[in-house]
Symmetry: C2
Subunit: 273 residues, 2 copies
């Protein structure tokens, strides 16, 4: 999927919501544990109930890897289900990978070819030759960590590197990479006020913004400082939506939470466009 199609979907659904599919077997309705594949059963119900309210889904690979082979199978079934039943949805493998060149190519194949995600999140620490192998894939997107939503972001990301914060160096340097048009960036909602500076450096790029909801980020602030002429935002919520209820009505409860955010997003879209 390219970004033109993504923007069309956003305008059609009046939503730039991304739902994080971070499935923890301790937090899902316990009757689902009787299913052959509880993770997939949970995801399928959440997806069927919320797909009209969001434009993207983002499974975080950690939650699948923690369950070993079974978890990886659930991830495969989830992405296959999305690609078959809802091909208009933008899919994000939240994997935060990155390695030396030939190895990054293997990761890119894993997520873009074997699992057929539209995008993958990548960590910038190893630099150019760890990131360009992902960028080489046509109509696939590489979502680079810039300024993350957690407290640890202040350890290194906001420190001044040659007189400018590391996350700004990451933004600027990444613009010089081959096929940089395929880049998007992670910027945490908990750091919304940094967005004005960030938009000076990357005015046109899409941002994936986690941290609204459970982590305390504010939707209005993110839109005020981060929205561009092509919307340019995907706002992620995970726990706040998918764990809205632990009962039989969990999918409907998730849809209600998603709808709350979608309605706020519609207001923001009407304000800006």
């Amino acid at each position: 999927m390219n970004t033109t199609q993504l923007v069309q979907e956003i305008k059609k659904k009046k939503s730039f919501l991304c739902i994080g599919l971070d499935v923890d077997l301790n937090k899902i309705p316990q009757y689902l544990l009787e299913e052959e594949d509880p993770i997939f059963a949970f995801n399928r119900a959440i997806i069927d109930a919320t797909h009209h309210l969001c434009v993207a889904y983002k499974p975080n690979t950690a939650f699948y890897e923690a369950y070993g082979l079974k978890g990886w199978k659930s991830l495969e079934k989830t992405i296959n289900y999305l690609n078959k039943k809802y091909p208009e949805i933008f899919t994000i493998a939240d994997a935060k990978r990155g390695d030396i060149g030939n190895t990054s190519t293997m990761y890119a194949k894993a997520f873009f070819e074997d699992l057929a995600f539209d995008s993958v999140t990548v960590a910038p620490y190893m630099g150019k030759d760890s990131i360009e192998p992902f960028l080489a894939f046509e109509d696939k997107h590489t979502i680079l960590l810039a300024l993350t939503s957690n407290q640890g972001a202040y350890d290194f990301q906001t420190k001044a590197v040659d007189g400018k914060e590391l996350y700004k160096q990451v933004l600027e340097t990444s613009k010089t990479y081959k096929n940089s048009k395929n880049l998007m960036y992670v910027v945490g909602a908990t750091k919304a006020k940094f967005l004005a500076d960030i938009r000076q450096i990357i005015p046109d790029s899409f941002l994936l913004v986690p941290g609204v909801g459970a982590q305390g980020g504010n939707l209005q602030d993110v839109c005020k400082y981060g929205m561009n002429s092509q919307v340019g935002l995907l706002i992620n919520s995970s726990r706040g939506i998918i764990y809205a209820s632990k009962e039989k009505d969990f999918a409907q409860a998730a849809a209600l939470k998603a709808e709350e955010l979608q309605k706020q997003m519609a207001v923001e879209l009407n304000r800006h466009f």
Copy 2:
């Protein structure tokens, strides 16, 4: 496995060699493709032929994920085989993971519990709360990327952060993390001369040193600048050993290459101890 046991193994085998199990189906002997699980068949033969020459094996997860579910199964079989048949070997999941706190815990469970590796490589970009969940596991080791062997390392890692290179900030800051005794660090052999400075900051920690061989790093330089009173080095070679031959003799050819390095290591150990 704790580091005391690791040092004992090093002295017993006169080797601090780590063999990288980065299996690419295009590079292994093609007759193995007829096996039910060619990746595992290849790894098992390499391990059986080389285990007495090395103290650690390091599968890079990218090479397994690229083959999807089958690849993950091969990884699982490889680590189970190592833990059962050669429990004296130190095992490294070269995964370069890292995420916000609760998610890093899931990654730690994936590699320390589900797959039962002794250690995992972790990227530092997201800071303290992305790393401490790994450090919380007793007798498990977290190998933090400090200064990597690739060209892209110069994009950010060697840039001055508040007057000191980023990789040095990573080393210093990580020492303040809870359970930092469980840390080891990745330092590329291609940057051996940086090791003297690095040893000023972390005199006692083990270093995982990739980049000898195919990438051009020099064993003698690494030992000169990086060895400490407890050896403190694991030197990795992947392609240079495992792809020594594409014929029926591939495992024996790998053993010969491993033995070449082991002999050089014995000389270095005799020189320093």
